[in-house]
Amino acid sequence: MTAPIGAIGAAFPPLGAVGAAGATAGTAATTPATGAVAAANAAAAQSASGSFGQVLGNALSGVQNLQTNADHLAVQAATGNLNSVTNYMVAANQADVATQLTVAVRNNAVQAFQQIMNMQV
């Protein structure tokens, strides 16, 4: 089960550094030839790129850090210890955007897997 997804994972190598996903994932999807280039870039950019599961796990732990930070600031806001209103809003926005991006990448990868599974033989 994980082997084909691992292959798909190679198409989304920068997932660990969530920010880079938009840049390379798009090109990898449109032109198969760039897949190797994207994988090479990912190897240079991130040594920890492994199976899709590992990469997604790394991305989720990054998102978890952002969520924890936002929660921490939310508690400060509730207890009146918040230094700056925007600090909380920024942290909440970052957690929100990073979560949406990770979920979008996961959904697209699963969709690609299902398209391959539904291929007529």
């Binding site: 550094a17 920010g19 938009g22 999807a29 700056s84 925007t86 926005n93 955007v97 991006l101």
Partner: protein
Amino acid sequence: MSMFDAINTANTGVDMSQTWMNAISNNLANMNDATRTSQKAYQAEFPVVTALGGGQNGTGSGVAVTGVAHGSAAGITVYDPSSPLADAKGMVREPNVDLAQQMTDLIMAQRTYQANVNAISTAEQTYQDGLGLKP
């Protein structure tokens, strides 16, 4: 995380503006503090800032408040013989806080805050637009 550089950079501007407004509020609150001529006057506070480097592709990463500069401790001496703090000549010391300058600074701090908040919300909206791309 480099993805949120725009937001984090603008947030440093917001923090700086807030410190600036805090200092201005303090200056306005202490504007009329009279003291004996043998003592120091309240010294107006001015935040000292520095630009931060280390952003993406050689850009900077915002601004940081590194300290506070203080106005003159001599202030101005005013003739006010009815004050309990007056010396033998009837003089008291008052801070040399320029109300007009503080008010214009307050407007600048407010506009800086608003501009940086705008940058944050525009960046956030842009990230949302990026998420809207169809694969």
